[in-house]
Amino acid sequence: MKKTPFRRRFLTSISVLATLAAAASVTPTAQANDRLIELSKSNENWVMPGRTYDADNYSPMAQINTENVKELRPAWSFSDGVLNGHEGAPLVVNGKMFINGPFPNRTYALELDNPGKIVWEHNPKQSASARAVACCDVVNRGLAYWPGDGKTPALIFKNQLDGHLVAMNAETGQTYWEIENADIKVGATETQAPYVVKDEVLTGTSGAELGVRGYVTAYDVRTGEKKWRAYATGSDKDLLLAKDFNIHNPQYGQANLGQTTWEGDEWKIGGGTNWGWYAFDPGTNLVYFGTGNPAPWNATMRPGDNKWTMTIFGRDVDTGEAKFGYQKTPHDEWDYAGVDVMMLSEQKDSTGKLRKLLTHPDRNGIIYTVDRENGDLVSAHKIDDTVNWVKHVDMKTGIPIRDPEYATYMDHKGRDICPAAMGYHNQGFDSYDPQKQIFLLGANHICMDWEPFMLPYRAGQFFVGATLSMYPGPKGNRQAAEGLGQIKAYNAITGEIKWDKMERFAVWGGTMSTAGNLVFYGTLDGFLKARDTRTGELLWKFKLPSGVVGYPITYEHKGVQYVAIYYGVGGWPGVGMVFDLEDPSAGLGAVGAFKNLQRYTKQGGGVFVFSLGGHGPYDDPKVGEYDVN
């Protein structure tokens, strides 16, 4: 059809411009990290979660746009042979796609020119006991890439559920090095995507539901050597607090709090794991991420503010030192683990001053924007007006003004608390459209009843201490157990919700937006959807084999813009299906909340790749055929 002229047009516009732009950004120092930055800016790649260090899941591509998105069709697909939740997204680098699945964390490299042949596979043997200590399905959120430096080959990094961090040769898939970062015997696992910055690979851990004390560690990409480790709780030394920690915002708290806001040695089993996403600003040299919930969930068992769980950290990437830390939910009573995505933007604040910002839709139902140079709180709005545990955030102190009606404590059953423990936002990687200055949020709309109970700490065992019942928020349909999610367009300066739409289930995986005025996201019931970023109008959708808990990416190959997404329902909302549970309070309450999900989708796992008209590598059906024909 109109394939060739169509492609040519884009080759001479979008992609050439992109190449020029990339070339212009090359700095004379040819560090591997600079090359990673270059690569991240090319439309042909998607080298890290969030696309660039801005972690905004935004692509300047517009080949697919609101006019033609109706023509989007699958170009090819790939099942990775594993069920369970497929979170995150593949990476695309230099004409290859790198795919990583949930436990047992198989990794595949596919050639974009002929994805029907697997270039390499990395299939680790892991102890099945890792499965038993994973809190929320046996997910994995993706890979990291380091471009090599001539001496050391290009590397792909993954975390395994069993706590191993593995560096693989990007060309061959062979293990380059493999170290132990978390010990499943004490309940620590890894589900996170590692993150490469400046020849270091960063990773956190999982396990706060088993009382695991969180830490983030930086390893030398070339050798696996530990560079620094920063804990979420404990002494200032363990926490790697900079001397001038929170100098700009002393009201957030400064020295000693990692121990004094805990009773006795409880900080040793106090959670604060980081298993979410990172962002990096080469200007501030800070890496940004959130620490998660304190342990156990039963708040009565841990008097104190429980610092520095639930904290947005800005840490110097070379030393690990924390320059600022803002605890969003002191003394968490609801499991509002704050590891959610950090999206970087430059915007004028309400006074008209251009600022370097970090925006973070938190699980507690508040979306925070801070000045990423110093941690100043710029805005803090409710993701949805149904958030009720907190009245508002005091902008001077940063303190959430709690509504005691929704407190949780022993011998008391909290009811109708919004958000539920799953948060109004969780592990989804959202996007920011810098042209329109709006954040596209995939949100949950789930509330809960919560009743704590006492339990002893035993290393390697679950240490939660609460019974939950979860159900749709006030805007959903509690009768039908539907209306558990939203998609929202949000302005972080004005607090305006430009538009929002209810979804049947949580928009668990996040969003990706493009200069084509499109926001893409997957749904738990198995659709990839495209809406007009400006109006929210649903323009297109496709029924994937299984529900989505990852986020879409987009890349260009041979002049064609592709959109790729993992399918494979799971994660916390999918535990009922994944482990065949029926008691509504099982899966920490997720089984009840998502009891209807099984009426819409079943397990699966793999990647789907779309393009306009479905054009792609097999337009010529001879590609990839057995030789002799």
Binding site: E178, I179, G264, I399, P404
Partner: protein, 106 residues
């Protein structure tokens, strides 16, 4: 339940009036986060609940041996990793199984 609401709206008022920040906790006021002992240290017990868990009816009875296990595990991993990395840096070959790492010089 009723008193919780009443008190919470009272606390809301006091915040709006700009009071009680970084002041000592008001006895029996519902915990709303605004009565801070120091910056970043604002926890209070729920009304009628003990200031301290240990020794109270909500004592978690932690076993110090259990509490020590995580750090022990981390130290052991660190040690094994250090052996792997040392050999890798010296000989250019990565050996995961620490029992198979030759313990020669260099």
């Amino acid at each position: 339940m009723k008193w919780t609401s009443l008190i919470s709206s009272a606390a809301g008022l006091s915040v709006a009036a700009g009071l009680t920040l970084f002041t000592a906790p008001v006895a029996m006021a519902a915990y709303d986060g605004t009565h801070c002992k120091a910056p970043g240290n604002c926890w209070e017990p729920q009304p009628g609940y003990p200031e301290q868990g240990i020794g109270s009816k909500y004592d978690p009875h932690h076993d110090p041996k259990e509490l020590a296990k995580q750090q022990e595990a981390e130290d052991q991993m660190d040690e094994r990793n250090a052996k792997r990395v040392r050999y890798f840096k010296s000989w250019g070959q990565f050996i995961y199984d620490v029992n198979k790492i030759p313990s020669g010089p260099k």
